[in-house]
């Protein structure tokens, strides 16, 4: 059995040597509505959806637009929707999908062209949390000591590759485009919890509003879709606890 983006399929489901890939295509610079365009892709047992899309680009239509780089599920470029699931195209194998595959761009972000979406708002949210270590102490010549237990507190958040799967899966994001989104807030949790960081209470105050940490409604789609097992909702909950403690003057800094 193969677990594919939350659904179980029997191994070798629909063993086929040709897949019909339907890609939702559009271009923001023209007025036509997005429409599915179909491509027949011959393949062997090992082809991934990403490889299929690149095969289409190489052999059928060079203008098919998509983002990609590492092909090994570590760079976060190829996030998209495959048969309704938000995931990375490079790690979904055609052998585990039905013979017809529907591929769409990430939701919650404006489409630039085909599978390329405008990530500006996503990057801006992330930059707003000041995603770098803030400290004012004299760091000395050598490394600041940090125990394995201290490192463990940020362990899950540091693996985020900013693929935007969570941002795209979040229904609150859809409802409120101004919401900072799970990834940015998880990044803030990463720095707030880093034993070396000294950013002070203002940083939480800045995100304590309905488009910040109070925008989350614990739907947990972010946790479902994260390819890196980051749990942004947990990070947000933890930031809320800190914010409340600060408000009540209860937090030791």
């Amino acid at each position: 059995m193969v677990l594919l983006a939350g659904t179980y399929y029997p191994e070798g489901y629909m063993s086929v040597t040709e897949s019909l890939i339907h890609v939702l295509r559009s271009d923001e610079t023209d007025s036509a509505e997005p429409a599915f365009v179909s491509f027949a892709v011959p393949h062997d047992n090992d082809m991934t959806v990403l490889a299929a899309l690149l095969w289409i680009q190489d052999n059928l239509d060079g203008t098919l637009a998509l983002r990609y780089s590492c092909r090994g599920a570590v760079c976060g470029s190829c996030a998209m929707v495959i048969n309704g699931d938000i995931t990375l195209a490079c790690r979904i194998h055609l052998r585990n999908l039905p013979a017809e595959v529907f591929v769409e761009p990430l939701p919650n972000l404006p489409i630039q062209k085909d599978l390329v979406v405008d990530m500006t708002r996503f990057w801006e949210s992330w930059a707003r949390v000041r995603p770098y270590l803030i400290r004012f102490d004299d760091m000395g010549e050598k490394e600041t000591l940090q125990t394995p237990a201290q490192l463990d507190r940020i362990e899950q958040f540091i693996n985020c590759m900013l693929c935007a799967c969570c941002y795209s899966a979040c229904p609150l994001q859809q409802r409120n485009p101004e919401y900072m989104g799970p990834a940015a807030l998880a990044a803030l949790a990463r720095f707030e919890n880093d034993s070396r960081d000294r950013r002070g209470g203002d940083s939480l105050k800045e995100v304590s509003h309905d488009s910040g940490i109070w925008g989350c409604r614990s739907v947990f789609r972010c946790i479902d879709v994260c390819p890196r097992n980051v749990r942004p909702a947990d990070g947000i909950a933890e930031l809320r606890t800190r914010a409340l403690k600060d408000l009540l003057g209860r937090r030791k800094r």
């Binding site: 193969v2 271009d27 610079t29 090992d46 690149l54 680009q57 190489d58 052999n59 239509d61 060079g62 203008t63 098919l64 637009a65 998509l66 983002r67 990609y68 780089s69 590492c70 092909r71 090994g72 599920a73 570590v74 760079c75 976060g76 470029s77 790690r91 630039q112 062209k113 085909d114 390329v116 990530m119 990057w123 930059a127 000041r130 995603p131 770098y132 270590l133 400290r135 760091m139 010549e141 050598k142 490394e143 600041t144 000591l145 940090q146 125990t147 394995p148 490192l151 940020i154 362990e155 540091i158 693996n159 590759m161 900013l162 720095f191 880093d194 070396r196 960081d197």
Partner: protein
């Protein structure tokens, strides 16, 4: 049009570190992908420095690291450059840690270090097995903190050079769908490797090496390109990287008869011999019929135990699950060598300066040379940060001198050339990807781990033919906006240039040294070949010359492990 002080092409570790060193000046970083997607992030195992944090390493030293690097290079590294790399290592690690890199730690809070290939002492600092990812995110956070200008999804196609100096770059803005020019007093290429010239490579699909080819066509010499590193352990099927750290943590390599065959090839260091030695060992085992059917050997991690695997090698565990359907705690990983790194590259000095005034290069696309004929694991991440900073500082000093004015006509000519090329492609007939795939077969089959004259001559002839064919390739559309097929077609001649330089260099070098192994010239020949290959563009292909190696610190010796 405004003139930049510096245009940096490449948004990976080397380019970003240089940008940080140059902040305060008018700096633009151009990257073909968002910087956080740069291939630096895929580096897994670690970054070397003689920190002496491990109990077994209390008598480690910068000197030992230097010697290991030079010996690892099969004595082709320029020794002062290698010494600089190792001297600057500790401060580089501490700086990245101060900036927030989440290094894995010892119980006492110090940065942990693991054993890696080609050294007897653990000096490879790591952040689980995602070291590149953590370093890159840390650096990019600093870029945002300093608000350095980054232009994403710009594909540079020409380096503008005239009168022996640089004037800027020209390329395509993928989102705007237009050809753009950046006039600049200095240009830095930090464009990474060329793995995708080969069929089997660990590299990202974007690693076409176009930066090196653009410099070559711009008249810059290219050094030692025949030295291609084949990483011993890439996952069978996809060639996704399985870090040397897996062997550093105690993983064993076994052939089909269950033997730890490295005892025949490097009895002392075994699985942690330098990469070229392990890659040849694995390839030999497979050719001799002692590999598994399909052509691979096994990397067995089972004895490390569930906890150690998930704590130290979680990325590897996920890669094995996603791409080989294997639980690394239960089953050994199928691995074989694959192209991984380029020791050679744009010919620069220790300041990163090329012979073209104002044109610099650093990181994997450059060749100083610190890695000579073979690179030690953990030294590439180090190189990007050390030489990123040193080159940035050198450019700062360069820019302190008054500039000599931009040749806008030369920039306009470069722009016109691109427009012509795009037009020609729209009228072409042949499929670019087909030619590209045949080139990859030639390189992987005949310019791989083991090379010999007949195969290399045949490879050169086939590449020449493919280069002729490439003139007729077509792009489905001449539109400039997010047109991946057009970029493939534009980069094809560049990749073929690199294929030719690698091939010619390998054919000419009638010895075996480091990663370049000739079955018909199986020994190292210091009498004739202790020198760097320098390739410059000629009418009929690359012209090769040679240059002495800086041997100022150590006598070359027999290289045994």
């Amino acid at each position: 049009m405004a003139t930049w002080d510096v245009v940096i092409v490449g948004g990976g570790l080397a380019g970003l570190r240089a940008a940080i060193a140059l902040r305060g000046l008018r700096v633009a970083v151009l990257s073909r992908v968002h910087p956080l997607r740069s291939h630096s992030l895929a580096a897994q195992g670690g970054i070397n420095a003689a920190l002496k944090n491990m109990p077994e390493a209390t008598d480690d030293s910068v000197e030992k690291h230097t010697y290991d690097t030079i010996k690892g290079s099969d004595f082709l590294a320029d020794q002062t450059a290698a010494a600089t790399l190792c001297e600057q290592a500790p401060r580089t690690i501490y700086e990245m840690e101060h900036w927030g890199t989440p290094f894995s730690r010892l119980d006492n809070g110090r940065i942990a270090q693991r054993p890696f290939g080609g050294t007897e002492v653990p000096r490879t600092c790591y952040a689980a097995d995602r070291t590149g990812h953590h370093l890159l995110q840390t650096l990019y956070g600093r870029i945002r903190k300093h608000d350095i200008a980054v232009f994403e999804e710009f594909v540079v196609l020409r380096l503008v050079e005239a009168d022996g100096r640089v004037h800027g770059v020209v390329g395509i803005d993928l989102a705007a769908g237009s050809i753009v020019e950046f006039a600049a007093r200095s240009v830095l290429f930090a464009t990474g490797g060329y793995g995708r010239v080969f069929r089997n490579s660990t590299n990202a699909l974007i690693n076409t090496g176009s930066g090196i080819a653009i410099a070559y066509r711009g008249g810059v010499s290219i050094k030692d390109l025949e030295f291609v590193q084949f990483h011993p352990t890439t996952l069978f099927g996809t060639n996704i990287l399985i870090t040397e750290g897996a062997r550093g943590e105690g993983g064993h390599l076994k052939n089909a008869t269950g033997d730890r065959f490295m005892s025949e090839y490097a009895p002392k260091l075994m699985e942690l011999a330098p990469r070229d030695i392990v890659a040849r060992a694995i390839t030999t085992e497979i050719s001799a019929g002692r590999g598994f059917s399909g052509g691979y050997v096994e990397l067995d991690l089972r004895h490390l135990g569930h906890d150690r695997i998930h704590e130290r090698l979680p990325g590897i565990w996920e890669i094995a699950r996603d791409f080989a359907r294997i639980d690394a705690c239960e089953t050994a990983l199928p691995v074989l060598p694959g192209q991984h790194y380029s020791m050679g590259g744009i010919d620069v000095d220790i300041q990163g300066h090329s012979a073209i005034h104002g044109f610099f290069a650093c990181g994997e696309c450059a060749c100083v040379s610190v890695h000579g004929a073979n690179r030690l694991g953990g030294n590439s991440l180090l190189e990007t940060l050390v030489f990123g900073r040193l080159t940035g500082e050198a450019m700062s000093r360069f820019l302190a001198e008054p500039g000599q004015g931009i040749d806008h006509a030369a920039i306009a000519r470069a722009k016109a050339q691109i427009i012509d090329q795009v037009d020609r492609l729209a009228r072409g007939t042949l499929n670019a990807a087909g030619i590209r795939d045949r080139m990859r077969d030639v390189l992987s089959d005949d310019v791989g781990v083991f090379r010999e004259e007949k195969g290399l001559i045949s490879a050169r002839d086939r590449i020449r033919q493919l280069a002729d064919d490439a003139v007729q390739v077509r792009a489905d559309s001449a539109a400039l906006r997010f047109n991946g097929g057009l970029i493939t077609a534009l980069e094809l001649p560049m990749m073929l240039d690199l294929a030719m330089i690698i091939c010619e260099g390998a054919l000419a070098r009638t010895e075996s040294r480091g990663s370049h192994f000739r079955t018909d010239h199986a020994s190292r020949d210091d009498q004739i070949w202790l020198k760097h290959t320098i390739a410059t563009v000629g009418a009929d292909g690359p012209r090769l010359e040679y240059r002495d190696v800086d041997l100022s610190r150590y006598e070359p010796k027999e290289r045994e492990y």
